[in-house]
Symmetry: C2
Subunit: 214 residues, 2 copies
C-alpha cells in the first residue's frame, strides 16, 4: 500500500475492519464459536451486517482474517521490542541450528500459552477440520507460511553442511512443529521450554546412540 | 464378561447398543456432526431416546464409544487375519526398532486413508478441541492407550541399548506420531508409506550428519 494520506473512505473502512476483527475475537472468546454469528459481530462492531457480507463469505472467514491480523500485530510488536525496523520474515541464522530452532520453538510455546490466542485458534482449527474449504484457507494462509520459515532455515543448514543433504526439509520440520501443535490442540501434555528443547534435540541428533568419532 | 449364555435382557441391550453405534457412525458420515442429534440416532437405531440418555450424557459421548468400538473391531479383524487368537496389545519386538515402528506407522497410514474412519474421527477431534470434557475423554480413552504402545516399545529398545537411556519415550514417540495425525487432521500433505518411513528414520537417526565410526 502507498504511504500517502488515505482518502476518508479508506480510513473509515480500516476503522470498521478493525472493529469487526475485535468483535469477532472477543465474541469467540466469550461465547464460543457455535454461538458466533455475523449479526452478533455486526452489532458489537457497530457496523451493518451488509458491510461484513461485502467483505467476507462466512463467520469462519471473518475469524480467520481477524486471527491473521492478530498474529501480524504480535510479530510487529516482537520486532519493535527487539529494536528492529521491520517485521522479521526469516528465522535467524546464527550458524547454530539447534540454538536458532530452540529460540523459535520457545517463543511458540509462549504464544500457545497466551490465553488471547486460545479460543480463536482452537475455534479455527476445529472448524477447519469439519469444513474443508476453511481448512484449506487456514493451512494456506496461516500454517504453511509459518512452516516455510523452518523449511528455509533447514535449507540454509543443508547448504552449510549442518543437515544431511538428502533430508526433506518440509518433512523434517514436522518432527518439532507438529508435536507442539498437537499437544496444544489435544491438551495432551504440558507445553514448556524444556519440552520444546527436547523435540529439537531428538530431531537433530536422533534418539539412537551415535557412533563416537575417534 | 463371563462366557455363559447371557440373559435375554443383556442380549437385547447388546443389540440396541450396536444399533445405536451403527446409527451414530452412519449419520455423522452422511450429514456431519453439526446435524447429529440424539433424536436422529434413536430414530435410525429403532430405540427410544431414553435408552440413549440412560447410557450416554451427550451425542459426543455416543460417538466416542461408537468410534472406540469400531477401532476395537478393526484390531480384532487384523489379529484374525494375522492368524492370532487374541488381539495384539503390544507392538512387536523383532529386535529391529526401525522395522517395527515402520510396520505400525504404515498400518496407521492405511487406517487414516480409510474413509470409514474419516468423518467420525474428524468430528470427535473437532468437538474435543472445543469441548474440554469430551477432549479429555478422547485423549484418555483413544489417544493415550495408542501412544502407550509406542512408549512400551521404545522402553524395550532402551533396555536393549538401541535407544539412548536418557531419552523420554513419551516425548520421543511424538516425533513420528504427531506429524502423521497433524497431516491427516489439517489435510496439509499426502499420507504415504514413504512419508511414514521418513518420519521414523529422521527420529531414530536425526537429520544432522553422524560422525562415522572408524
Amino acid at each position: 500500500m502507498a504511504q500517502k494520506t488515505a482518502p476518508d473512505s479508506t480510513r473509515r473502512s480500516e476503522r470498521s475492519r478493525r472493529a469487526i476483527y475485535d468483535a469477532a475475537l472477543a465474541l469467540v472468546t466469550e461465547a464460543g464459536y457455535a454461538k458466533l454469528t455475523i449479526e452478533a459481530i455486526a452489532a458489537r462492531a457497530g457496523v451493518g451486517k451488509q458491510t461484513i457480507y461485502r467483505w467476507w463469505p462466512s463467520k469462519g472467514a471473518v475469524l480467520l482474517d481477524a486471527f491473521l491480523d492478530l498474529a501480524e500485530q504480535a510479530s510487529r510488536a516482537a520486532s519493535e521490542n527487539a529494536g528492529q525496523d521491520a517485521v522479521q520474515t526469516e528465522i535467524t541464522d546464527s550458524g547454530d541450528l539447534e540454538a536458532d530452532l530452540k529460540f523459535v520453538m520457545r517463543a511458540t510455546v509462549d504464544e500457545f500459552n497466551d490465553s488471547k490466542y486460545d479460543a480463536p485458534y482452537r475455534a479455527l482449527a476445529a472448524e477447519g477440520l469439519l469444513n474443508p474449504e476453511l481448512g484449506e484457507e487456514f493451512v494456506a494462509k496461516l500454517l504453511e507460511p509459518q512452516l516455510q520459515l523452518f523449511v528455509n532455515r533447514v535449507r540454509r543448514a543443508q547448504d552449510a553442511g549442518h543437515v544431511l543433504p538428502d533430508v526433506d526439509p518440509r518433512i523434517a520440520l514436522e518432527l518439532w512443529a507438529s508435536p507442539l501443535a498437537q499437544r496444544w490442540l489435544m491438551r495432551s501434555g504440558p507445553l514448556t521450554h524444556a519440552y520444546a528443547d527436547k523435540l529439537v534435540e531428538y530431531a537433530l541428533y536422533g534418539i539412537t546412540p551415535r557412533p563416537t568419532a575417534s
